[in-house]
């Protein structure tokens, strides 16, 4: 079984396969992607679990993230230290969730975390304002932004607490079939 590669032990590969939505080949491909970001930092032998972490600057330079207005949030949400610096595990995790095999609810969960800028488990108005600004590149006036945010909260907030909980968010996502297709 795959004797050509010595980066991971077969057990490690099995574990990765069980924990992500990827096949063996894709995991290896992603590993090379990860390594290409910093060939001098990442060893070619992962069987002894080296403790390597790539800084956020490198991660965000990937073409997949480079132009995404939410790149910093994405990196923060998926990195273990919460600052966007990623281990290989975090890296694989991120791509696994963003891959098309991942179920929508998992994506919704992480999307919620991404939009939750202040990490308080609620999307409140300030989070929404940040989202709007990122989505529109600061082209709206502050009044317009706050109007939009109020409307969104009014619409999606089911329990009237003035902010969106994960339940509210998922409920909304269920009605928006275009979400993350």
């Amino acid at each position: 079984m795959g004797n050509k590669q010595t980066i991971f032990t077969p057990e490690q590969l099995d574990a990765y396969q069980d924990c992500t939505f990827f096949t063996r080949k894709e995991i290896l491909r992603l590993f090379y992607r990860y390594r290409d970001l910093a060939p001098q930092l990442v060893p070619l032998d992962y069987s002894d679990k080296p403790d390597v972490m790539l800084p956020y600057e490198l991660i965000s330079s990937m073409p997949e993230l480079k132009d995404n207005p939410f790149r910093q949030r994405i990196a923060e949400v998926f990195s273990e230290d919460g600052e966007g610096n990623m281990t290989l595990d975090d890296f694989l995790d991120m791509f696994s969730v963003l891959s098309e095999m991942a179920p929508r609810d998992l994506k919704a969960y992480y999307a919620f975390k991404i939009y939750d800028f202040n990490n308080d488990d609620y999307i409140c108005k300030s989070d929404l304002e940040k989202t709007v600004n990122k989505l529109t590149r600061h082209e709206l006036t502050p009044e317009e932004v706050s109007l939009v945010c109020e409307k969104v909260i009014e619409e999606a907030d089911l329990d009237n607490d003035g902010k969106l909980s994960l339940e509210d968010f998922q409920h909304m996502i269920l009605r928006a079939p275009d979400f993350l297709r």
Binding site: K25, D93, D105, D161
Partner: protein, 855 residues
């Protein structure tokens, strides 16, 4: 969840409300419709909803993802202060299923001791994890992997869990069967290698998927809306590959064996006209033999007639079911929304297309989004501005005129096609002039049809400018409707011409003639498609960037392109009977179209500016492919098979009065063989019998009616649940206010203080969104009651904990009226509060009823 609160389940309301039922397991088996309930927002549950029901039952509610919630860390640290038993809620996450739970001692210390380092903090709640692990260990391998993949945890935690599960599994198997240790190990190895083999297979299949990478690139550059066109194209392509394989293997290959030599010359123009040399090939109906084919003497023979009719019949049946299936699936996923949001929230939080990776596309998208939001805001402001009667009349008049104009254009096109086709037939029958002239004359009809198909949509899009729709979505739907009417009526006229005029004319082999017509239509349409993307996109871009700068780069018109595909696919389906190898030609064309469109898109186009709800549009396209297109084709083929006389001198059905006679003759033959009596019985009692179809129709109507009623009931249910959620939100706000007031007034009483602190910690424990609905509904009063008790006895020594009360209590209180009154001390206060909350909420409800449930 635990059984302490079981008394609440006695209440019939809880049994009626589908989302709140305690036995989710049962519910999932009862009816799969429940899975779609939008209120069932518990993440454990919905994570499992995706990949089918089989995996759902066993672990749906048992994976506490709460371990990774920040909120829980607070609770864990709080928990560590007390003894494990002191916290009455320590176990609440865990046993959601009402299963027997073995005690802690069941798990060996080894698994616990392996945990150290950064993971230790989280594993302070080791009991919880143990239980997940045990649950996971009881699943099959496949289910387990899926469950682990879907956990929203970091890789480290997932791997930890996985390793523990595997250890647990091997340990179990070892302890149960020490004597056959070797055997189990062997089995384990076999299972492992089987799994690796299967993973390898799935990798292989993935690499076989067509154009995966190209589709990714397109999605990244242009977003999902343009991608939907290409996905549709590949879908049609696979459809055609399938039909080609079926036709080729069951009809064409046997014909090759029996075929005679072809002595017609090949000039090259035939590729365009489909006539001449091709007349004597397997491409057309007329070439197929009507005899039975036997290569080896005395072996079973191959009846060409039956092969032809059954292959095509079964192909259509398969097509029918796969279309219905994909249509229903798409409808279920994209349209089953009891109430849709007007779009603001969805627009904001769901609109970002994470597929897009191209910088320009990102800029463009951001810009479009901001204009959209601005428009929506201004729309909201000017909504009150009502149009006067006169203005409204003008609007209606314009719409009416546009409709009359478009229908008139369609009618003119149809008459034009009709007379041209009749003229075409006359020309063909006369047969004077040179061979080349004749062949060129046959091309007039397809060129005119394709021109009409290409140009009239542009006229229709000019109408759009006049009409000025309020909502862009209406405009898209109207345009699509007009185009569909045009294309389908042109095809309808052509079918009328083929079935009523060509079939009754005195031609030698009318089926081949029809096949040739369709071939020409398909080929010319393909050429026009290429020309269209050259002129419509390439030249347009040159003009837009070089000459008229304000025109800009053209957009990729998804609707027009998809409708073109539907039109061609309809032609192909009609043509399958007359020219069995048409799918092969279509495969080649689709391949070329894919690449041409891709290149043209990449070079010339920009992403569409309009809001394009890709998933709903895809549903609409599949529906269009089914309804006018496929059903129309079915009726055409049915008329051909049952009503029309096949030509006398060619084709597999020569000499029969109708094509279906082949089947009845075969049945007559079969009556002589007692072994195949069941076939005869089925034929006489089911296929030929009117009663059977009558009963079948009645049954289907009854079932449809039942389902319709069920859906209506569900709608009411959803509305009630929505009301309930809002009520409970109000309950919560009210309770919070009261508690805050209480807290303020009794701040100096230490016991009270302890109570509210404990309350806040427990509430923070319940804060993680990974909550079950029922948990909220059922256990709330106990929160109130237990901490009070605890605080009296053992919790006075609790360390100071400064959780900010209003922010952290994000739970919803239970529905107090449904709680059975408890006799424990301390309840009465909470209950009274809850009762008051309910009363106030109801009062408010009456006032706000109108606004809240408009939908």
């Amino acid at each position: 969840m635990s059984y302490h609160y079981n008394e609440a389940f006695e209440n019939p309301d809880y049994h009626n409300s589908e989302t709140l039922e305690s036995g989710r397991r049962k519910a999932s088996q009862m009816n799969s419709m429940f899975r779609q309930n939008p209120y069932d927002s518990s993440p454990y549950d919905s994570y499992t909803d995706h990949d089918g029901r089989e995996q759902r039952q066993s672990y749906s509610v048992d994976i506490p993802m709460a371990t990774m919630q920040p909120g829980l860390e607070v609770s864990q640290s709080a928990k560590r202060w007390g003894t494990p038993n002191a916290n009455p809620y320590g176990n609440t996450h865990i046993n959601h299923s009402f299963e027997y739970e073995p005690e802690f001692t069941y798990t060996p210390p080894s698994t616990l001791s392996t945990v150290d380092g950064p993971f230790a903090r989280r594993s302070s709640d080791a009991s919880e994890e143990e239980k997940i692990i045990r649950n996971l260990a009881s699943m099959t391998t496949r289910e387990r992997i899926k469950a682990i993949q879907k956990m929203p945890k970091t890789m480290k935690e997932k791997r930890e869990i996985r390793n523990k599960v595997l250890m647990e599994k091997t340990r179990k198997s070892v302890s149960y069967s020490t004597e056959i240790h070797c055997c189990t190990q062997c089995m384990y190895k076999i299972a492992l290698s089987y799994r690796r083999f299967r993973n390898g297979l799935s990798e292989l299949f993935q690499s076989l998927q067509l154009w995966q990478k190209t589709l990714k690139i397109i999605g990244g550059k242009f977003g999902t809306s343009v991608l939907s066109y290409f996905v549709f194209l590949t879908w049609l392509l696979t459809f055609n590959i399938f039909s080609f394989l079926v036709n080729f293997s069951f009809v064409t290959i046997p014909q090759f064996i029996a075929a005679g030599s072809n002595n017609l010359s090949f000039t090259g123009l035939e590729l365009l006209t489909g006539a001449g040399y091709f007349q004597q090939t397997v491409l057309y109906y007329g070439f197929y033999t009507n005899s039975t084919i036997t290569k080896i003497e005395n072996s079973t023979s191959y009846d060409m007639q039956l092969a032809y009719i059954f292959t095509i019949g079964i192909y259509f049946v398969i097509c029918f079911f796969s279309l219905v299936y994909s249509m229903a699936k798409s409808f279920r996923n994209n349209f089953v929304n009891p109430q849709t949001y007007s779009g603001n929230a969805g627009k904001l939080l769901c609109i970002w297309d994470f597929n897009i990776t191209n910088e320009k596309a990102v800029r463009l998208k951001q810009k479009n989004l901001s204009t959209q939001i601005k428009e929506a805001l201004s729309e909201g402001k000017s909504e009150d501005l009502n149009l006067s009667l006169k203005q409204r009349m003008v609007h209606i008049a314009i719409h009416l005129a546009a409709w009359i104009f478009s229908l008139g254009t369609t009618a003119v096109c149809c008459t034009c096609v009709y007379y041209l086709s009749i003229n075409n037939l006359k020309l063909f029958m006369k047969g004077d002039g040179t061979e080349l002239e004749n062949q060129a004359a046959t091309l007039v009809l397809p060129i005119v049809v394709s021109l009409l198909n290409l140009l009239t949509p542009f006229v229709f899009s000019l109408l759009e400018l006049l009409e000025k729709f309020q909502y862009p979505r209406n405009q898209i739907y109207v345009t699509i409707t007009r185009n569909v009417i045009l294309k389908m009526s042109i095809i309808g006229i052509l079918c009328y011409y083929w079935l009523n005029i060509v079939a009754t004319s005195a031609t030698e082999c009318w089926e081949t003639l029809v096949g040739q017509d369709i071939y020409r239509l398909v080929v010319v349409d393909f050429l026009f498609c290429l020309l269209g993307s050259f002129f419509g996109e390439f030249i347009r871009r040159i003009i837009g960037t070089k000459c008229l700068k304000n025109l800009g780069v053209p957009e990729f018109d998804i609707a027009r392109n998809v409708l073109g595909l539907i039109y061609v696919q309809t032609l192909t389906w009609i043509g399958i009977f007359f020219s069995p190898l048409l799918p092969a030609i279509q495969i080649i064309f689709f391949f070329i179209i894919f690449y041409v469109k891709k290149v043209s898109l990449m070079m010339n186009c920009q992403p569409p500016r309009k809001v394009w709800r890709a998933s709903q549009m895809t549903t609409l396209f599949i529906f269009l492919l089914f309804f006018p297109s496929f059903t129309g084709v079915l009726s055409v083929v049915a008329i051909t098979i049952w009503r029309l006389n096949p030509s006398e001198k060619c084709g597999p059905f020569r000499g029969l009065s109708s094509i279906f006679d082949a089947v009845s003759r075969w049945i007559d033959v079969l009556t002589n063989y007692p072994r195949s009596a069941w076939v005869v019985w089925i034929y006489h009692n089911l296929i030929e019998s009117v009663h059977f179809f009558f009963i079948l129709t009645v049954i289907i109507i009854i079932i449809t009616y039942l389902y319709w009623q069920i859906i209506e009931g569900r709608k009411i249910m959803v509305r009630l649940l929505h009301e309930q959620i809002i009520n409970e939100g109000k309950d919560k706000m009210f309770l919070l206010e009261k508690l805050r007031a209480l807290q303020a007034s009794t701040r100096d009483t230490p016991a009270r203080k302890g109570a509210s602190q404990q309350f806040s910690t427990t509430s923070s424990l319940y804060q993680p969104p990974g909550q079950l609905d029922q948990q909220r509904h059922l256990s709330m009063p106990n929160y109130l009651e237990r901490p009070l008790e605890k605080n009296k006895s053992s919790f006075s020594a609790k360390p100071p904990y400064t959780a900010d009360f209003p922010e952290t209590s994000g739970f919803l209180p239970g529905d107090p009226q449904r709680q059975q009154p408890s006799t424990k001390p301390g309840v009465s206060e909470a209950l009274a509060l809850a009762m008051r909350a309910r009363q106030q909420a109801e009062r408010e409800m009456e006032d706000e009823d109108e606004e809240d449930f408009r939908s």
